[in-house]
Amino acid sequence: MGDLIDDEMRDFFASLNPQVSQEVQDFYFPNQEGDNRGVPTYSGQGTNAYSNISPYRYSGLAPEDMGGDKLYADLIRAQTQDYMTRFAPVENFLASEITATGTKALQGDLTRTRQAVLGAAENVQGQQARSMGRYGMSYTPSRQVGNSTVSALVGGLNDTRLADADRRTQLLTGSLSGIGQNAAATGRSA
């Protein structure tokens, strides 16, 4: 099936104006660099910013020396360190995932959509060939099969792009939008 699609696609691209052909290929078959980005590395694992807190460190100080204040200051520093070690990298990662039109996951999603649709077509053709073989008939994929697959592929790729654009909006208005407001509020109250 993959060969059939490739041949039809090649014919289709060849029939287009070279510039348009390149644009269509870039849209539906983009550079696959970054498709399998793997699991992002998390640097916060194994850290515990609170392990060095000593609740009674200042208990022996005189009331004029403000031991409670000093202990609170220690706690705030530990919380800040915890935030910077465990959460700030995740915020940075999430923010860096956003692109002008969607997210960096788009290429991977497009590739997976392409593989899923083409793989399913190949799989089902095999099933159909075996099914017809049981009745002593041979199976030759019709041109309609190729058209149907291309149609599903184009629809799937378009949906994938739309989903990615939605995802970008959700990240901007959901996960990340509160951070800037919180940071601004913290800055104003300082």
């Binding site: 980005r37 793997g38 699991v39 992002p40 998390y42 916060g44 694992q45 515990n48 910013a49 609170y50 807190i53 609740p55 200042y58 208990s59 009331p63 004029e64 031991g67 409670g68 202990l71 609170y72 706690l75 530990a78 465990r86 959460f87 700030a88 995740v90 915020e91 999430l94 995932e97 997210t103 996951a105 991977g108 999603d109 997976r112 899923a116 649709v117 083409l118 399913a120 077509a121 799989n123 089902v124 053709q125 099933q127 159909q128 099914s131 009745y135 019709s142 099969v145 149907s148 697959t149 599903a152 629809g155 799937g156 949906d159 994938t160 989903a163 995802r167 996960s175 509160g178 951070i179």
Partner: protein, 189 residues
């Protein structure tokens, strides 16, 4: 001597007690909940890995295929029981069209599951961000829930595809209700 010259301010004992209480709470948080949070963060990041996609998309594709296979099997049995020639153009056209629908359903359902996996990974990171901001986290959809949602879509699509295949139903004397009853009403994989 003028100017007042009062004694240095003294901290209330209760303030020290509150600070100690907060310190103990944070110690316990660090010992108990930080490792759990880190585990959750790592699990969320793992969802961007290839294994997570292969597992969920494979299940979606197989589950969708099963829906169509059972429906097709029922229609075939009904058709052949009434003496329909499997080499006839009418039968081949219709079964080919249903196979096309099966391929489309399998491919697009698997693709949707992959997209949902990416969404879930980002959603999980959004929760991590909210944890860091001290905001409440929202409940996460489980893998089973997401898979069932995808299979509901596949079921609905399959019913529509079989309903469209009217000529096979007429030839075979079967209604879509039979196909749906045998093969298309299973909500889980």
């Amino acid at each position: 001597m003028g100017g007042g010259g009062g004694s240095d301010p003294k901290e209330q004992e209760s303030k020290m007690a509150l600070a100690e209480q907060a310190a103990i709470s944070l110690q316990r948080y660090g010992a108990t909940f930080v490792p759990l949070e880190n585990m959750y963060i790592q699990d969320t990041l793992n969802q961007f890995g290839n294994d997570a996609y292969v597992d969920s998309m494979g299940r979606a594709s197989t589950g969708t295929s099963a829906i169509y296979e059972e429906g097709l099997g029922e229609l075939n049995r009904g058709a052949f029981a009434r003496g329909l020639d499997p080499s006839s153009g009418a039968y081949q056209n219709e079964s080919g069209a249903l196979r096309d629908a099966q391929a489309r359903g399998m491919g697009l359902n698997a693709a949707s599951t992959g997209i949902a996996n990416t969404d879930q990974a980002y959603k999980g990171l959004g929760n991590v961000v909210r944890m860091g901001q001290g905001l409440a986290t929202e409940a996460m959809d489980g893998n089973i829930n997401r898979m069932n949602n995808q299979m509901d879509v596949a079921n609905a699509t399959a019913k529509r595809d079989f309903a469209r295949s009217s000529s096979i139903q007429n030839i075979a004397g079967t209604g879509v209700g039979i196909a749906a009853g045998y093969g298309l009403n299973k909500g889980t994989v």
